[in-house]
């Protein structure tokens, strides 16, 4: 009574596995490096956008402040037109955008983190156009340069005399 051992499968678990070649590794590393560079660039860009958006909010506040001044200045039909509502263009240079000078110079105003960011200045241009003797339009434009790029925010309003 003979015994025949079963034939060993041709594809055993000890099959030959090819290694990863150096060129394959280099290509994989290059792809990874490209991914890393792209990711870091994207995150840095997102951070720039976040900072730009924050600056824009402050620029809007500076613009809104001038609009408020234009809207709330007393202007009676019986009085001469206030200076701020006289037709023409007014330019204000070097206004602080993201900092308050006094906060870093006066002891009761300074905090532990005052002036951590780089101060940015703005230029505010107000153009008043006379529509009628009792009505003007105003365009307030705030412009500033941040990280080498120019930005502009603008608001428009109408204003009439307080009385008729």
């Amino acid at each position: 009574m003979g015994f025949t051992a079963p034939e060993r499968p041709k594809h055993s678990r000890f099959r030959t596995v090819a290694g990863i070649t150096l060129p394959e590794v280099i290509i994989a590393a290059a792809v990874l490096a490209l991914f890393i560079v792209a990711s870091v660039s994207a995150m840095a860009q997102i951070n720039r956008w976040a900072s730009v958006a924050r600056m824009r909010t402050m620029a809007l506040a500076a613009t809104q402040q001038k609009i408020d001044q234009i809207l709330m200045t007393s202007w009676s039909v019986l009085d001469p037109t206030p200076a701020i509502l006289t037709a023409g263009t007014t330019t204000e240079n070097n206004l602080p955008l993201n900092y308050d000078t006094f906060n870093s110079t006066e002891s009761n105003l300074v905090s532990a983190w005052t002036s951590l960011d780089t101060p940015v200045n703005l230029t505010r241009v107000t153009t008043i156009t006379s529509i009628t003797a009792h009505q003007v339009s105003a365009v307030v434009t705030v412009s500033y340069t941040y990280r080498g790029k120019a930005y502009t925010v603008s608001m428009t309003t109408l204003r009439t005399t307080d009385d008729f």
């Binding site: 890393i36 951070n47 909010t57 001044q69 009761n108």
Partner: protein, 297 residues
């Protein structure tokens, strides 16, 4: 099992190790840089959000102010009025002199009205009765310390007592005012409609790095507040503006200098975090304001 297996050569090992080390260092640097960039982004967006929401909230309520602004101080225990005094500091936006800075401001907001006066008065009357119903509700209930303004008389009065509190079931309410009305008002004749508007004192304070809103800054209610935003690091952000040379401020231009900082991402590595200072000058939108007296109760 008779399979030939080669060991790695020393050169292969060195190359593999070098590649592994380079990739590991790259991944580590990438991870560290990513964490730093993400942290910075969160900080920037956090301060931006704090600033934007604070600005919107302040603009909304300060524009709606029905009275001049009054500076107040809070030292952790006591709220007190502060006298505004002009300094030599000049506000860059308005070219007006900035007052002493404080960590609070109070003013009045419209709380209810117009409500119809429902009981006739004499000139000596110090008691006013109104119908506080709005449809089937009573959205405003007068309190001691509120002010009532009667546009017909162009007069404002402090409310010293609420002798009949209005409710949904009984919307008629009666208040005691601080001085005789000074006019006889007939409410019974058909067509006579006399109304009153009610104003409540509110306040903003900054304390413990929080911008706080006091929806009822009257008497014992002063200490009740809601936090508008945190991470506000300006110790004294509020001031009034003085026209150059003027002895007193109109109290109609509130200057804000709110510094926001994201403390959460600060570290010993001096990561540059989100710090920003919002400057604004906000006037009431209705001028002259409905309530000219700035007394507090």
């Amino acid at each position: 099992m008779h399979r030939t297996r080669h060991a790695f050569t020393f050169t292969e090992m060195m190359v593999a190790l070098s590649v592994f080390a380079t990739v590991s260092m790259g991944l580590f640097t990438f991870t560290a840089t990513s964490l730093r960039l993400v942290g910075r982004n969160l900080a920037t967006n956090h301060t931006h959000e704090n600033m934007r929401i604070s600005d919107q909230e302040l603009l909304y309520n300060l524009h709606a102010s029905a009275s001049p602004y009054v500076l107040i101080t809070y030292n952790g225990t006591t709220y007190a009025d502060a006298t505004a005094t002009a300094t030599t500091d000049v506000d860059a936006y308005t070219q007006q002199n900035i007052s002493n800075r404080t960590n609070g401001v109070r003013f009045r907001l419209a709380a209810g009205g117009p409500y119809q006066l429902t009981a006739s008065t004499t000139s000596a009357s110090t008691s006013l009765t109104f119908n506080f119903a709005v449809g089937s509700t009573v959205p405003y209930v007068p309190e001691v310390g509120d002010k009532v303004v009667l546009p017909l008389l162009s007069s404002a009065f402090d409310i010293l007592a609420v002798t009949q509190t209005p409710s949904t079931g009984s919307p008629t309410g009666t208040v005691t005012i601080s001085a005789p009305l000074g006019f006889a008002v007939n409410t019974t004749t058909t067509g006579n409609v006399t109304t009153g508007y009610f104003y409540r004192e509110v306040a903003y304070t900054v304390y413990n790095n929080q911008l706080r809103y006091h929806a009822n800054y009257t008497g014992s209610n002063q200490g009740n507040y809601v936090i508008v935003r945190d991470d506000v690091t300006s110790p004294n952000p509020f001031a009034l503006l003085f026209v150059p040379g003027a002895p007193a401020s109109t109290g109609l231009n509130l200057r804000l200098s709110l510094e926001f900082y994201d403390i959460d991402y600060y570290s010993a590595r001096n990561y540059k975090n989100g710090t920003v200072t919002l400057q604004a000058v906000i006037p009431p939108r209705a001028q002259p304001p409905d309530v000219s007296q700035t007394n507090s109760m």
